[in-house]
């Protein structure tokens, strides 16, 4: 009889220990999940900011490239214009006298 009582007592104690182990694990898991939920907002914001920041950088690059392209175009146009201006100057020098004579003929009776 005594032995049986001792056995029941031991089983009951272990049951209590088992319950405590499970309760501790449950509490720990709840804490884990709660911490993860709190961290989740930060993770969301960080992921949002990082991705958006990459896009912003890309946008800056896009604009910079477009500005550079436009600058190159300007240089090209100006270079062509300067070449044309040189051609104009050469023709003007060559035809200078003819133009002066023509105007004199037009204005003089």
């Amino acid at each position: 009889m005594f032995v049986l009582l001792e056995a029941f007592k031991a089983i009951k104690e272990k049951h209590l220990e088992a319950k405590r182990i499970v309760e501790e694990a449950t509490a720990k898991s709840e804490k884990l999940i709660s911490e993860a939920e709190q961290k989740a907002l930060k993770v969301y914001e960080e992921a949002y900011k990082t991705t958006l920041s990459q896009a912003e950088q890309k946008a800056i690059e896009l604009k910079r490239k477009a500005a550079k392209d436009a600058e190159n175009e300007l240089a090209k146009f100006l270079s062509t214009a300067e070449d044309q201006a040189k051609g104009i100057e050469a023709k003007a020098r060559k035809n200078f006298k003819a133009a002066v004579d023509s105007v004199l003929n037009m204005v003089l009776p």
Partner: protein, 207 residues
Amino acid sequence: MESTREITEMIVEEAKKSADHILQEAEKSAADTLKKQKLRGVQRAKEASKILLRKAENEAEFNKKNSIANSKIKAKWVILSKKETWIDNILKEVKNELKILKQSKKYLSILEKLIIEAGVTLGGKELVVLLNPQDSALPLKLGNLAKEIGEKTGFKTELNMSKEKVEVIGGALVKTADGKVIMDNTFDDILRRREKELRSEIAKILF
């Protein structure tokens, strides 16, 4: 006693297994939550990025087109300003040539023709001639000129030299005796009123 120990060990062992499982599940759930939130953040940012990039592309394209249009204008301006400078040089040279012409013998007959032309335009009759101080000293035969104007207009014409002088390169300013109608046939005014036509002609010849 042996079987009691086995039972109690089993109870604790089972509890530990359950605890491990609970913790594993919690860790999995926590990791899952973080992963989902990260993905959500990335997804939302990608949507915002699309709008941002589209706007940036549009802005960049607009600015590029605008700059290129301005560049074309600048380039055209370089050419036009070069042409304008040369046209101005020609007109300056024409004025110099006219000043030189004034020193030549040919000038007197040119001045006479200018006076006749102005007189005819005014329709003859009583006219007054205004010249610059140097030209006033030239031996102009106003009587002969008046006669020619008269022949061309059909009206008896009288030409008188005004005491008033004009500050011009050369040529003549003729007005009716009452001063109501003026025909400015000075070189200065001819160049001024025909400037558009002259510039166009110069451009044709020069370039």
